[in-house]
């Protein structure tokens, strides 16, 4: 077996050294009736690399990959072009096969990357500080709500109707068990986001308001106004960014008054991956540092006075503080953070701005074309690279029919909001720098053909 270096001779010699007759002597503590006498039945035995490769390749071939079809999905996961050097670098064994940097003297590579990552996230979000990453955007959002409760010592969170419904689901699921109070505003097909409703829902019991920016329908809320209203009642503004590329074009949430900014970092470096692993981003005001969840990397010096980096403030964390920890999170999303950080380093601020401008331009091209289809209307007054189209019929069916024509034509609001009425004709369409004119034309042609019967 190719991954097991012990030879039969080694095993014999080692068993003799440990004083066991057979390896089963080492499993004496396992109750005899539970001990398996051989490989579990009904499962295949070991297989060659070639055989496994064939099996997995056949499964992969059953999926329609985004690169092989006109592709317009977003809704919290975006397809961007990742430079080839990113994947090359994260595959270096020294990054890929290292553990959490518990021994900083021999983990400066990972640690310096995390310090750079934290700085990048903080600057991107416009926050003072950031942590070393969370599981993903949705769990980071829940952690932000918990943290806001710790900071404000209040327990009621208001969720904008523009928050990604999966994020809302995660929050409500968790809150059901922690008994936190969650006020979820409804989602409606309006050209403008629900800023007024959010502001109206804030009261003195409110720990935070959670607002996505741009929101799940592609609209852009007025964070500054919401922040002002929240702060007036002693509540925090938690901004949620599911498309960090947008921040190359529109103002950083921290600069608009958000107290905590969380997000999904998948857009940069990580890729679609059928939903995971992804990368939770978490930034906030410096004064909240000891209430933050997740790992933090900090600068220090070594015994010779040289700059170095360590994991720090671990007194917040579960392995020290146990049941009093700020979170039970242990693993972060280190390798995804590395990929994000490399991609953002390659871009730089100006590159990110260019990338964002290109995304927006491509989206304008797409929506110009798509809204020329009779019966198709654009919901949004403004958008970055994603917006909501109103179709003349249920978008769920349309998406299915498009897939049958090898077009991945967006996310239906019916799938995202299965229990909400009145959203069924909404189709969320995302466009990035990877979207070509031919993609747009194919999509438009097929959509038109479905909707108004023009032959494809």
């Amino acid at each position: 077996m190719r991954y097991l270096p012990l030879t039969p001779a080694d095993r014999t010699e080692m068993l003799a050294r440990v004083g066991a007759d057979s390896v089963d002597d080492l499993f004496v503590d396992v109750p005899e009736e539970a001990r398996l006498s051989g490989p579990i039945e009904g499962l295949p035995m070991h297989a060659s690399e070639m055989a496994v490769e064939r099996h997995m390749t056949a499964l992969a071939a059953k999926n329609l990959s985004a690169g092989s079809a006109p592709f317009f999905l977003g809704a919290g996961a975006y397809r961007h072009h990742v430079p080839a050097s990113v994947d090359h670098l994260i595959q270096r064994g020294e990054f890929l096969t290292a553990y959490t940097p518990y021994q900083p003297e021999i983990a400066q590579g990972t640690l310096q990357v995390l310090f750079e990552f934290q700085t990048q996230v903080a600057r991107l979000f416009g926050t003072d500080i950031a942590n070393a990453s969370m599981y993903d955007g949705s769990t980071a959002c829940w952690e932000a709500i918990l943290m806001a409760a710790r900071v404000t010592r209040k327990g009621k969170a208001v969720l904008s109707g523009g928050l990604h419904p999966h994020y809302g689901e995660v929050v409500r699921t968790m809150a059901r068990f922690t008994r936190d109070e969650i006020v979820s505003l409804g989602t409606e097909l309006a050209a403008e986001p629900d800023d007024a409703a959010v502001i109206g829902a804030i009261d003195d019991a409110t720990s935070c308001v959670v607002v996505q920016y741009p929101d799940v329908l592609g609209r852009i809320p007025d964070l500054a106004a919401i922040a002002e209203a929240a702060h007036a009642r002693g509540a925090l503004l938690v901004a949620v960014v599911t498309e960090p590329v947008a921040l190359g074009l529109i103002e950083a949430p921290g600069a608009l008054g958000a107290d905590i900014v969380v997000g999904e970092g998948q857009s940069l470096g990580v890729g679609l991956q059928f939903g995971g692993p992804y990368l939770g981003l978490f930034g906030c005001r410096e004064k909240f540092v000891r209430q933050m969840p997740g790992r933090l990397c900090g600068e220090t010096v070594d015994a010779e006075g040289k700059r170095g980096f360590v994991l720090t403030l671990s007194t917040r964390e579960q392995h020290i503080r146990r049941e009093k920890a700020t979170s039970n999170i242990c693993t972060n999303s280190g390798l995804c953070a590395l990929a994000f950080s490399i991609h953002l380093t390659l871009l730089g601020g100006e590159g990110l701005a260019q990338l964002a401008a290109l995304n927006h331009a491509r989206a304008r091209a797409a929506f110009e074309r798509l809204t020329r289809i009779p019966g198709v209307e654009l919901l949004n007054s403004v958008y970055f690279n994603e917006a909501t189209l109103i179709l003349p019929r249920d978008a769920r069916e349309v998406v299915q029919e498009l897939a049958g024509r090898k077009v991945l034509g967006g996310v239906s609001l019916g799938r995202l909001f299965p229990v909400a009425d009145g959203l069924g004709k909404g189709l969320l369409v995302a466009v990035t720098e990877t979207t070509t004119d031919e993609d747009i034309e194919t999509f438009a042609t097929e959509l038109e053909s479905l909707l108004v019967g023009v032959p494809a």
Binding site: M45, N63, F71, G351, A403
Partner: protein, 493 residues
């Protein structure tokens, strides 16, 4: 050689990415939202970036460079096939919300992996979406909460042995439970009688690590489970150490109700310097109905379905909700399934046997120079536990650990579990060769001898690492978490 921060290397306007020109200006309506200037992020061209990260990487120790015997972390070889399979466009370039008809292969990966996990553990079901071990623990406890809710019971205590991973009590608290501790026996096991004494109508369940953090199998687990069940509670098993027993015994046969599986431990997905992990949770019949959304089921006709909010219907009415956006750690699923298929049922059993043999070999070849508190109890499982009792005055576990760095090895886990003074927990895993272990053992023995002889140079180890010992107190006292060097506050150098 020192490597500057990327911010120190970069320059305004440098960029390692080229773009097509944007052919349309921002929409007029967007003007009030536009930022005034690009984010203050200096860029690097590709040659500079490749060099920066290549050089940084070389300041890391990694499993690709040598043994990484961190107890309870299971740092085993990461096969490269797993990486190449996870990068197939059919897996890596697929959106989580694509129509099901366009992702049938991806759903099949999830289903096949789920089937293996269920079969290997002898459980009824598995929740695939938890993002890591601690997230899996949370999932398991939420299932217990949901099951209790369904029974209309308000049990609010979870019993946790004092040797548990820190995540266990943190998770219990996060899930809204009160934690009560259970002591260990002098042999390093859960004290069955002490546990029984705490059982009662307020006890929701118990969280047990098996094999436990002393590297020992809990022989009483079935009896513990029976007692807990009899008292109306559930048994959560921390599966971080499943590597020691995979293919040798099924937790389901021991009465476990929920157990997370760290795909990055037992099934070799890479640790990546601290994640991502993946923590599917296998569930007993009693807890299975409460597993969170979304999940994948195989119908009687063999077809595979994704169950989400929109189609949960009556059949899954008890599912407690959604723990994450999307489906979980797909990239880790492809790697883990690749690994599992490579090993097969026979290979996985051999994994456990070799992991346990390697640990016992370390235990028996070092117990004469380092105290091994539970060595007399019999064989260990996948990790060997030592203590720093008996070293010369002032020389401690930390010094041994840092000394190992100078010998070219990553240290073992130190000061954990807490039940042993100056604990050193060595987990070689099955992917170390005998020759490699012999070199490690020779180094460990030599360090133990030096420590006993009072070799004070160990205090200043490591001497041959990229950094000498780092001042962690300074870092925590005045946290510097972001670089501000360009704001007139030069970073320390």
């Amino acid at each position: 050689l020192e490597e500057p921060l990327s911010f120190e290397l970069g320059a305004e306007g440098k960029c390692g990415v080229d773009f097509d020109a944007a052919d349309r200006a921002p929409a007029a309506g967007l003007s009030k939202f536009l930022r005034k200037a690009p984010p203050a992020l200096p860029g690097l061209t590709e040659p500079e970036a490749v060099r920066h990260y290549t050089r940084l990487s070389r300041q890391n120790y990694a499993i690709d460079l040598g043994p990484f015997p961190l107890g309870s972390c299971t740092m085993k070889h990461n096969p490269r096939l797993n990486e190449s399979m996870a990068r197939l466009p059919g897996f890596a370039d697929v959106h989580p919300l694509q129509p099901q008809t366009s992702v049938e292969g991806a759903l099949e990966v999830i289903e096949q992996l789920a089937d293996w996990l269920i079969t290997l553990t002898g459980m009824a079901s598995v929740a695939m979406s938890p993002k890591a071990g601690a997230h899996g623990e949370l999932c398991g406890l939420l299932c217990i909460r949901a099951a209790l809710d369904a029974r209309g019971e308000e049990r609010d205590v979870v019993l946790v042995p004092e040797s548990a991973h820190g995540t266990n009590p943190a998770t219990a608290a996060f899930a809204g439970f009160k934690v009560q501790s259970i002591p260990a026996t002098p042999e390093g096991r859960v004290d069955l009688e002490a546990l029984k004494a705490k059982l009662g109508p307020n006890v929701a369940g118990v969280m047990i690590t098996n094999p436990n953090t002393c590297g020992l199998f809990e022989p009483d687990l079935k009896r513990i489970a029976d007692a807990v069940h009899a008292a109306g509670g559930y048994v959560y098993c921390d599966g971080a150490n499943f590597n020691a027993i995979v293919g040798k015994v099924r937790p389901g046969d021991l009465g476990v109700d929920a157990m997370h599986i760290n795909l990055h431990k037992t099934f070799s997905t890479p640790h990546g310097g601290g994640g991502p992990g993946a923590g599917p949770v296998v569930l007993s019949e009693a807890l299975a109905p409460f597993a969170p959304l979304p999940f994948v089921t195989r119908g009687a006709d063999g077809t595979i379905h994704l169950v989400e909010e929109e189609n949960r219907g009556e059949g899954h009415a008890q599912a407690f909700g959604r723990m994450v956006a999307f489906h979980g750690q797909m990239g880790m699923f492809t790697r883990a399934l690749t690994y599992i298929l490579s090993h097969g049922a026979d290979g996985l059993r051999q994994v456990a046997e070799d992991a346990v043999l390697n640990a016992n070999y370390v235990l028996r070849t070092c117990e004469d120079v380092l105290p091994a508190p539970f060595a007399k109890s019999g064989p260990c499982m996948h990790e060997a536990l030592f203590s720093d009792a008996g070293l010369a005055d002032g020389i401690s576990t930390l010094d041994i650990a840092k000394g190992l760095i100078d010998e070219g090895f990553h240290p073992m886990t130190v000061y954990f579990p807490l039940v042993v003074k100056g604990a050193m927990l060595v987990e070689p895993t099955e992917t170390e060769s005998k020759a490699g272990l012999d070199r490690f053992i020779a180094s460990l023995r030599s360090l133990a001898e030096r420590a006993k002889a009072g070799d004070q140079s160990l205090h200043s180890a490591p001497h041959f690492a990229p950094r000498r010992r780092l001042d962690e107190t300074l870092a925590a006292r005045k946290p510097v978490l972001v670089w501000k060097g360009d704001a007139g506050e030069p970073a320390a150098s």
